[in-house]
Amino acid sequence: MSDDHVYLTLAEGHEDDTRWAYGTGFEDPLHGVDTTVPDGVDACELADLCVSLADDALVSAQRLAEWTTRAPELEEEVALANIGLDLLGQARLLYSRAGQVDGTGRGEDAFAYFRDAGDFRNVRLAELPNGDFAFSIVRLLVLSTWRLAHFERLTVHRDPVLAAIAAKGVKELAYHRQYAAEWAVRLGDGTDESHRRMRRAQEQVAPYLGELFTAYDVRDEVVAVLRQVTEAAGLPMPVFRPLPGSGRTGEHTEHLAPLLAELQGVARAHPEAAW
């Protein structure tokens, strides 16, 4: 490589925007895709489904982003960011789809930045604070297992756009689940302290497991995976304790509003700005 190569090309006065990887006028992540809603698909239901799945992903990505510079090892910095980025990407595609089919034409940022906590439809497990690494791993294991089971079904959804988003997501989620499962086994089996922390994390997530299994019947699949992982980790099977209400109907814990305040603060301070 020539000594001056990299920065000389930067200093050259290109006049067109094509050198920017994403372009500067990037507006529509589904550009070029046929986005007509097929006959027989209820547009409202489809939009609601996309928003709830997007909200789960965005809120989870926000929590994963909070791990940045706080992870127990550099490999975990990279892995947690990877998972967060995958989920953020899923959220963006799903919001875009929702905005196309709900008749509002809203873009991804309108959903992410200009709705209040009561309008979010994510499950409450996603919004709980990160806690320690054990809690984050238990939560990731549950959420990725549950989301993967959903996405596998959605790959044959009658809306081809949602089906395509799901097909892409399945590969990502399979990795997320694998990562979480490997850590669950390490921590369950590792030391007395890590085992104790995993038991405590399982207690902490228990009240939030009930609401995961109302919309679709993926419970058996999820339970089977969790059983396999907990057995390998020497941990008990988590209890599914019911808690009244559901994030899916806009009932949230006290933790969502502060999460959104941080996420939305700059965007709302400059509502006229483009970024």
Binding site: M1, E66, T69, E73, V78, D132, S194, E262, W275
Partner: protein, 328 residues
């Protein structure tokens, strides 16, 4: 790791012959590889430089990492998240390059946390608005590129190869930062003010990233002779200024230096003198964010100790179970 035993062909093993072989390799602009004999000073200098570089990548995640959760659009959030992740990746390969010289990542991390090894002073300044994310990309990654592109030809093979990949990613970050600023400069008056304010705060610390002036840079001469380092601090600083001035003009911001002007005779820009006392204060630990940066790194490391112990314990148990299984 003992790497001093591998003798070059035909050598009789004496230090003098090994040294001659090493000197000849450097003179031919060939690479020194991990198993080659090298003088202790060369090894120590490289470990210090690569470790300091790795620490800078890891500490450097903090100033911008603060803005991932607050990025004002999902696209910017994704870009920033990926950038900060890249820095963790750079830290990883640099620690690995240091390990080829017999250093140990855990030990280097301890040295950082105990303040026995440094990281780039630039990361001790605060990020006060989202425009800082763009300006860091433009200035700090831009300065890093000026510093690091020549390191792709560093005489030590693993370091040089790591730098090739790192430079490609840094140049991507630099463009992303600049592209954010272009978008903001086309935006509202408040956005333009944010950009100018960030430029004002980051310009001088960015010039200091190239280190003290050549006449007071104690380790430079030996590093140049060993071809670990290829250009002097002042040379690189000049390149950075010359590269940045036209970009600032295109962007429509003012660089905060009244002495900055084109010098036809030299074919370079003249510019003012950075406050070297400030650089020394920041290096010694009295910058605006030194304590905060170290505290975050220390607490992440300490709070992660039980996780690393658990992983080690599990691996040991697993190995024991496999041995038992093999016997049975």
């Amino acid at each position: 790791m003992d790497t001093t035993h591998s003798s070059p062909p035909g050598a009789d093993g004496t230090e003098r012959v090994l040294q001659q072989h090493f000197d000849a390799t450097i003179a031919r602009d060939q690479r020194i590889e991990p198993r080659d004999w090298m003088p202790e000073g060369y090894r120590k200098t490289l470990i210090r430089q690569i470790a300091q570089h790795a620490h800078s990548e890891i500490i450097g995640m903090q100033p911008e990492g603060e803005w991932i959760t607050r990025a004002p659009s999902l696209r910017r959030k994704a870009i920033l998240f990926a950038k900060v992740q890249d820095e963790a990746g750079h830290g990883l390969y640099l620690y690995s390059a240091a390990e080829t010289l017999g250093a140990d990542r855990a030990d280097l991390t301890e040295r950082l946390i105990e303040g026995r090894q440094k990281y780039s002073s630039i990361f001790n300044y605060p990020t006060l608005s989202f425009a800082d994310v763009g300006v860091i990309g433009w200035f700090v990654d831009g300065a890093a590129i000026c510093n690091q592109v020549p390191l792709c030809r560093s005489s030590y093979g693993p370091y040089a190869r790591a730098m090739v990949r790192i430079c490609k990613e840094e140049s991507f970050h630099q463009r992303q930062g600049y592209e954010l600023l272009m978008t903001m400069m086309r935006g509202t008056p408040a956005q333009r003010e944010m950009v100018q304010d960030a430029v004002n705060r980051w310009w001088w610390p960015s010039l200091m990233m190239f280190g003290p002036p050549d006449d007071s840079s104690p380790n430079s001469a030996q590093s140049m002779a060993w071809k670990i380092k290829r250009h002097s601090n002042d040379e690189l600083r000049q390149r950075f200024v010359d590269m940045t001035v036209p970009q600032a003009e295109k962007l429509g911001v003012t660089l905060p230096d009244p002495e900055l002007r084109w010098n036809e005779e030299r074919g370079h820009h003249d510019f003012g003198t950075p406050d070297w006392d400030e650089l020394m204060r920041v290096i010694k630990g009295d910058g605006p964010c030194n304590a905060q940066r170290m505290e975050r790194r220390r607490s992440a490391h300490e709070e992660g100790a039980w996780v690393r112990e658990a992983a080690t314990a599990h691996a040991a148990k697993q190995a024991a179970r496999e041995r038992k299984g093999a016997v049975a």
